[in-house]
Amino acid sequence: MQIKAEEISQIIKGQIKDFESKADLSETGTVISVGDGIARIHGVENCMAMELLEFGDGILGLALNLEADNVGCAVLGDVSKIKEGDTVKRTGKIAEVPVGPEMEGRVVDAVGNPIDGQGPIAAKQTSKIEVLAPGVIARKGVHEPCYTGSKAVDAMTPVGRGQRELVIGDRQIGKTAVCVDAIIAQRETDVHCVYVAIGQKKSTVALVVEALRKNNAMDYTTVVAACASDPAPMQYVAAFAGCAMGEYFRDNGQHSLIVYDDLSKQAVAYRELSLLLRRPPGREAFPGDIFFNHSRLLERSSKVSDELGAGSLTALPIIETQAGDVSAFIPTNVISITDGQVYLEPNLFFSGVRPAINVGLSVSRVGGAAQVKAMKQVAGTLRLDLAQYRELAAFAGFGSDLDAATQAQLTRGERLVEILKQPQYQPLSMPKQIAILFAGTKGYLDTLPIDTLADYEQDLYAHIESSAPDIFDTLKEKEEIDSALEEKMHATMKAFTETFKASKGI
């Protein structure tokens, strides 16, 4: 950008001319003590709960504890610049963040300031970070699917728009990968995404942003980052701030998807904050309202009624377990709040099943209603087949003499497990998922060796796209497999399987 010195003087001149001089009426208090991200303030008598207070230097604080003679305040910024005796001003504003389409494609911190070095955000609207979730009348049942692009999730634990589906598992087994894929899968849809990174390494967040950018997913995604080095109040607030950004779309009749990565860290940040504010600790030293913290956050994800524009906010909260312990405090809490969970297991991950979804322990409580008919038709028996396979596989390990029926079931099961594997950053559209699941459940894969299935899958998509594209088109349009389509699919699969076999020399 070229700008002359003359122009700069003009701009400044204009601003000085327009500058309104007015006496500034404010209510103030003084800092009694400060430290660990918490400041106690004397004065500011009419301060409201969750009000923003202004320290010098533009640092903001969030009034959390209103006591008889002081206000406990979480500092949203650098505490080291605040001294005892400093003056604190009331802003009269309840904590809010900028929202709107201008936020898309940006990386912001927990209070909505850009941190991606791409200049200021020209958001026209702001929204309070703590608002009540839509009431009973304002809602409607979850009925449309929100595809995550992952075959295993979409077929067996389908997520509907407005649903809250927990992604739970140990560290380093692909929880973030499932969610990032879900964001990438929204590229062809009208769903806006928010990715909230809480308490993560900055390098990890940078990788996620990079992956989203590479897959053209940043165009419709806002990343809210409160990293491990940010103070606890920022990590606590980030989830609510991200939610407010997602709600903007929901309330404007659009659809949005929010990923909280992860809520365990948010709970830990809130515990730190609460202990410093001297709230009494409860189980695992978490404060008494830790359940409410998560429930009021997740309750804001909803499908709103037609009168209110039929928008939706789908949530994919992530919880990290310690050594697979789902009965710890925070995991049980969040499991009970959400409408189902996707459970990722280390054993599966290390034996090469990726995404490492444990089909038996994963459920979706409302997603079935949101599944399209075609998906129900192919996935209906999938869960059962897999359950039987697991049972048999454990049992078949002991003996070699198996009858033909058992053998067939084992063959089928092995192949189903194989086709549910999926590489990272390659979400699949619904018609493609249905095509491969159709091939699996109808037995076209039973005669193929397992190690050729990955190739088979790619070749199948290419084959259908080139020689029978109307299969994908009809699936997309009608969302069900009628008899005519079924016949056509059978014919195509049969022909393709033969040529595939011939090409591989089987």
Partner: protein
């Protein structure tokens, strides 16, 4: 501020006694005088509260000062009690809290007006009237001169700050120029 609760207890007791005797304002003046006396003389504060000196010696010091200052009756008793209970170091807080209680009872409040140069009486009166209009209470004004604010005035009443100083406006102008780029 750490003794806010303690100061409140003592101030409340003195306030109750003062209301009965109808001498709140007199009490407030005396207490304020004593608090500033202790505040301005670190040696005196030390003599009254340093545990190195025996307790009865400290009490005796207080009794002497009370006598010398010509304080009598209940106020004298109160000051001696404070010394006896070894709370002489909270006198400042007690005086402050007591003043707030008395002000509340009288529907007044304390205001401070800071200006760059000495204000004349009509101007002070006008400021007082404006502050009274804003707070809905009678305002007792003390004036201070602080040249660093360059011009205009800053008026403080309780938590309320009315800032019309040139310094603040210049700061804001600076921020607004910074902010728009």
């Amino acid at each position: 501020m750490k003794n806010a609760l303690l100061a409140k207890r003592y101030a409340k007791a003195l306030f109750a006694v003062g209301t009965e005797a109808d001498s709140l304002d007199a009490f407030a003046t005396t207490l304020d005088g004593f608090a500033s006396l202790v505040g301005d003389n670190p040696e005196l504060a030390d003599a009254l509260s340093n545990p190195l000196y025996p307790a009865d010696a400290r009490e005796a010091v207080m009794a002497e000062i009370v006598k010398a200052a010509g304080v009598e009756g209940m106020m004298a008793n109160f000051l001696n009690l404070v010394a006896q209970k070894r709370r002489a170091d909270t006198l400042g807080d007690i005086a402050e809290t007591f003043q707030i209680m008395v002000d509340e009872a009288n529907n007044t409040c304390q205001g401070v007006v800071i200006s760059a140069s000495e204000l004349d009486e009509t101007l002070t009166g006008e400021v007082q009237q404006t502050l009274e209009k804003i707070t809905g209470k009678r305002v007792a004004i003390t004036t201070e001169v602080d040249e660093s604010i360059i011009g205009g005035i800053i008026a403080k009443v309780g938590d309320l700050v009315l800032d019309g100083s040139i310094k603040t406006q210049l700061d804001e102008l600076k921020e607004s120029i910074k902010g728009s780029n």
